[in-house]
Amino acid sequence: MHTAAIDPPGIHWLRVSPRYVTVRLVEWAFGNVLMVAVFSLPLLFVQLGWWKWPPLWFAIAVPAAFLLLALWRLVLIPRQVRAIGYAERDDDLLIRRGIFFQRTMVVPYGRMQYVDVAVGPVERLLGLCTLKLHTAAAGTNAHLPGLPAAEGARLREQLSARGEARLAGL
């Protein structure tokens, strides 16, 4: 259980599903493998003798750097997923995330304008969903990914009910 200095004391954080790691891995594969492949093309061309310009060491160094970066991101994924947490308090919902760049957010129930539940293809396979909270502020970028579908539905109903009970104007 990861709690950092910026978390309010005495909060019992709920974790998102560990299966969310798989979703992140698929996203990671799409983004990073493609990028490393593209940046490896010059190396291929130099090896084949089509290109003269990038010296060999440079053609190796660039994709190698990207590969390292990608691997670093890969290593971080499980920890990042473990760092996502949420807590329902009496009047507001707390959401935290991040290890290096941490963010703890509080969204009062009475401020919620609407609640979205979004399911992507990979998430659907794993029975997960993403909850998005919207307030009148564009800065409220409150995503809660990797919730089990049942928990997502429960949370949506719960939040809507509580929001209605505490609804305030702008």
Binding site: Q102, R103, V106, P108, R111, A136
Partner: protein, 500 residues
């Protein structure tokens, strides 16, 4: 045609018949020019409209032009005929369109702001456009263009009266306009001064010096030519600011804050009480010489500030001295929640360290902002949170507790090393983005918790959207009389009962 001045409840009204022409005169002029050019040229050359080489082509062209013109006129008339509005049962409804009909209704008590806009041409004809804003980030919910100016004002008064909860449900709809008290007038001289000393002038001087240096070094004069478009662009920017800021007048009325401004196009904004979500007072470095400040606000209906229209609408004070800033702050925040607002706001504007109780970045983190650490700070009063920052570009942000939407604490690795954190307050879209920079972690976490509790308490106090229905009459904003103000006029009729 229902063009009478009294708006009776439930009646459908049309906008002024001339409005499509005021809106679409450019299109009409273009059509006439395009098809009639040939004839005009002949007439100008004194060769009679039907010349010697008159042929079928010209005739067809003229006939086509007339047809297009008729079609355009017809669509104008139809669009005018099918645009109708109604004010009833706490709603304003607008029907538009004849092929694709649209019916729109907006709740009156959801009003965030009402603007009366007069573009130059409309102003010549004595017409005005009324914009009714609700909180949907920058699209006017209701736009009535154009009405007669008096009618637009009457409609505004009625809408505000209903929204305030005083003329509720009754069939007598003739709500007199709320009396207003002018509190601030911006002399044109100061506006010009503020433009000359603004940030953009600073950068112009810098870039002028740079371009002169470059042309000296490269010994080419052609470089100057590249600057011409830039100069034209800047000229328009200055002109826009001048045009918009000219004659800036702020007034207070029971319906809220009224702002009027404009040289060619005039605009009158009314922001009802409690609709201002956040306030920002800034001072560019050059303005410090003359002690000037400017104020921006977030209003839910005005939307993103980088849209040029919204840029001027979110300006609560284009340029003003300190007492004017204090006065505007007292209008926005009638109850600052502290015993000595003057001292606290002064500390917020110009102060350093822990003046008046501000809590700043801890000394250990000075390296993160060597200039600003003594200024970056916060102070929570009973009703609002004050965030101050910037040593050169001084900035003070005020967010009323009951307007806080949500909050987030941010901490990066470097900040963690120095034991500081940022607190971001989320508010409706606009120029003000409240952020507490580099507060000590325990202070930030404490504030995060307390602020959530304070916002909760403040929300519970404010239950109704109808601002006059819930307040006793004595709660109208009481102005602190600013000392020795030349530009302030007091109109003594503020305390009269203003609605029948």
């Amino acid at each position: 045609m229902t063009q009478d001045q009294t708006a009776v409840d439930g009646d459908w009204h049309r906008v002024h018949p001339a409005s499509p022409f005021v809106r679409g005169w450019v299109a009409l002029a273009a059509i006439v020019y395009f098809f009639g050019r040939d004839t005009f040229e002949r007439a100008l050359q004194g060769r009679g409209t039907i010349g010697d080489n008159f042929n079928e082509r010209t005739l067809w062209l003229l006939a086509g032009g007339a047809l297009v013109l008729l079609l355009a006129l017809g669509s104008f008339v139809l669009s005018w005929y099918f645009t109708r509005y109604q004010l009833a049962e706490g709603y304003v409804r607008v029907n538009t369109g004849f092929l694709f009909k649209q019916q729109r209704q907006a709740r009156l008590d959801r009003v965030q702001a009402i603007d009366i806009v007069q573009p130059l041409l409309a102003r010549i004809f004595g017409l005005a456009e009324l914009k009714f804003e609700v909180a949907d980030a920058g699209h006017s919910a209701v736009r009535l263009s154009y009405l007669k100016l008096a009618q637009a004002k009457q409609l505004r008064a009625t809408i505000l009266g209903r929204a305030a909860g005083i003329a509720d449900g009754s069939e007598t709809v003739e709500v007199p306009e709320a009396p207003e008290q002018v509190v601030l007038y911006l002399p044109p001289g100061r506006l010009v001064g503020s433009l000359i000393l603004s940030e953009q002038s600073f950068f112009i001087v810098l870039s002028a010096i740079a371009s002169v240096m470059i042309s000296v070094l490269t010994e080419s004069r052609a470089f100057i030519l590249y600057l011409i478009p830039a100069i034209l662009g800047l000229g328009t920017a200055y002109w826009r600011s001048f045009n918009k800021g000219y004659n800036f007048t702020a007034a207070i009325s029971p319906d809220g804050i009224r702002l009027r401004y404009g040289l060619l196009d005039t605009q009158a904004q009314t922001v009802p009480p409690g609709r201002i979500q956040a306030v920002k007072v800034t001072q560019p470095p050059l303005w410090r010489i003359l002690g000037w400040y400017r104020i921006h606000v977030n209003v839910a209906g005005y939307g993103e500030h980088h849209r040029s229209e919204a840029e001027h609408r979110t300006m609560l004070l284009p340029v003003g001295r300190k007492f004017e800033v204090m006065m505007m702050l007292s209008l926005v925040l009638p109850d600052p929640g502290i015993t000595d607002p003057e001292r606290v706001f002064t500390a917020g504007l110009t102060g350093l360290d822990s003046d008046a109780g501000f809590i700043t970045t801890p000394r250990r983190a000075w390296i993160l902002s060597p200039l600003g650490w003594r200024r970056n700070g916060f102070l929570a009063t009973d009703t609002a949170l004050l965030l101050r920052s910037g040593r050169w570009w001084r900035k003070l942000v005020v967010v009323p507790h009951q307007r806080t939407q949500s909050m987030a604490l941010h901490q990066g690795p470097l900040a963690r090393l120095f034991g500081v954190a940022d607190l971001v307050l989320h508010t409706t879209p606009g120029p003000v983005a409240p952020r507490l920079i580099q507060a000590a972690t325990d202070e930030a976490v404490g504030l995060f918790d307390q602020q959530a509790a304070r916002a909760r308490a403040a929300r519970k106090l404010q239950s109704s959207e109808q601002w006059l229905a819930q307040l006793p009459p004595a709660a109208l904003p009481v102005l602190p009389a600013p000392p020795n103000t030349v530009s302030v006029q007091h109109v003594p009729n503020q305390e009269e009962p203003h609605h029948g």
